[in-house]
């Protein structure tokens, strides 16, 4: 049953977007589709408006960082839900860390407004067309994007932590 959802969506996306559609896989219970980052807003809009698919609920949106994938280090993951059929899919887009920008999906989902701000705050990903792209959870004057893998989790100002005891 899950497989039919995968095949259904894959077929429709291939038909509409051709080159822009990159891959489709079933990860456990979620079909995951990878598309090109430039067309993401059109893909989301298509999935929203399609009568049969009707993915009209954006569950979540998150940033990804895989430093080992040269050229495709940063990514964004969108999770969409169909309220009528109770089915979910995931869409991922990847792009280089040297040019971290892609279209914002706020024209389709207003909920993406704060989610994209959070992704910008933590990964430094620019969303073109976002109405108010600024930091949301961290201090406004923070100079770096903390969730990128090169930055440590710990606060650097403690003097009393002994590195030997923490396995570093």
């Amino acid at each position: 049953m899950e497989n039919s959802l995968l095949l259904n969506v894959e077929e429709k996306l291939k038909l509409t977007f051709g080159e822009g559609f990159l891959s489709a896989e079933q990860h456990y219970d979620y079909p995951v589709f990878i598309v090109k980052s430039e067309i993401i807003c059109d893909v989301i809009r298509f999935l929203y408006n399609d009568e049969d698919l009707a993915f009209q609920y954006l569950t979540t949106l998150a940033g990804l960082h895989y430093p080992k994938n040269k050229g495709m280090e940063l990514g964004v993951m969108y999770q969409l839900h169909n309220l009528i059929k109770n089915s979910r899919i995931r869409i991922k887009v990847f792009f280089s860390i040297h040019n971290p920008s892609l279209p914002s999906i706020t024209p389709v989902f207003s909920a993406a407004n704060w989610m994209e701000r959070e992704t910008f705050d933590f990964y430094g990903i620019n969303f073109n067309g976002h109405p108010n792209l600024k930091r949301i959870l961290n201090m406004e004057d923070m100079k770096y994007h903390p969730m990128l893998k090169e930055y440590p989790l710990e606060d650097g100002t403690r003097e009393d932590k002994d590195d030997k005891m923490f396995g570093r």
Binding site: L137, N138, L153, D155, T157, R158, K161
Partner: protein, 185 residues
């Protein structure tokens, strides 16, 4: 038959002084200290789990009201004791500082729990590693969260501090130096 049962309720004993018909003479700092200590109005700056534990302390089983803290104030202008309970993130720091600066003298600060005292288990980029980085603290209560008995013990220590402090602590050089260290006048 009826037996007279002595009341189990303790009230604060009167300070040493000379008593007579219609008057009681004692030292003013003893009276003021006693009044301040036994009517501390806390400002519960409750952010996380320690706030819930404080709610349990205020409730009837452990009852902080017995110690004079019956009237909680959420306005800093009307509070004596700032109780910081919970994780304070770096974004919350300036707000906490503003609340502390708005309190009128005399004021005391109680840091409850591991997160407020030192950042707790959250040694991360977003958590302030202890509120004593931004405001002066009088008493720290360790624990994660501390049991209500520990909170009451912390309040009792604050009471001891308050009783024995000088009346115009704000004018003393030591206090002014302390505030200067934090960048406040």
């Amino acid at each position: 038959m009826s037996t007279i049962i002595k009341s189990k309720v303790d009230i604060v004993p009167a300070p040493q002084g000379i008593e007579g018909p219609g008057f009681f003479a004692t030292r003013i700092d003893k009276v003021v200290g006693m009044a301040r200590a036994n009517s501390l109005w806390p400002l519960p700056f409750a952010t996380s789990c320690c706030g819930i534990e404080f709610m349990a302390t205020m409730a009837s089983n452990y009852d902080l009201g017995r110690f004079g803290s019956e009237r909680l104030s959420f306005s800093p202008r009307q509070a004596d004791l700032l109780m910081v309970m919970g994780t304070i993130s770096k974004k919350m720091g300036p707000i906490l500082r503003q609340v502390y600066e708005q309190m009128a003298e005399p004021k005391w600060v109680l840091s409850m729990g591991a997160c407020a005292s030192s950042g707790g288990i959250f040694d991360t980029y977003s958590v302030l590693q202890g509120i004593d980085r931004i405001i002066p603290v009088d008493i720290y209560i360790p624990g994660c969260p501390p049991r209500p008995e520990q909170v009451l013990d912390g309040i009792m220590q604050i009471q001891k501090l308050v009783e024995s402090e000088s009346l115009r602590r704000r004018d003393s050089q030591e206090y002014k130096d302390l505030l200067a260290k934090y960048g406040m006048e």
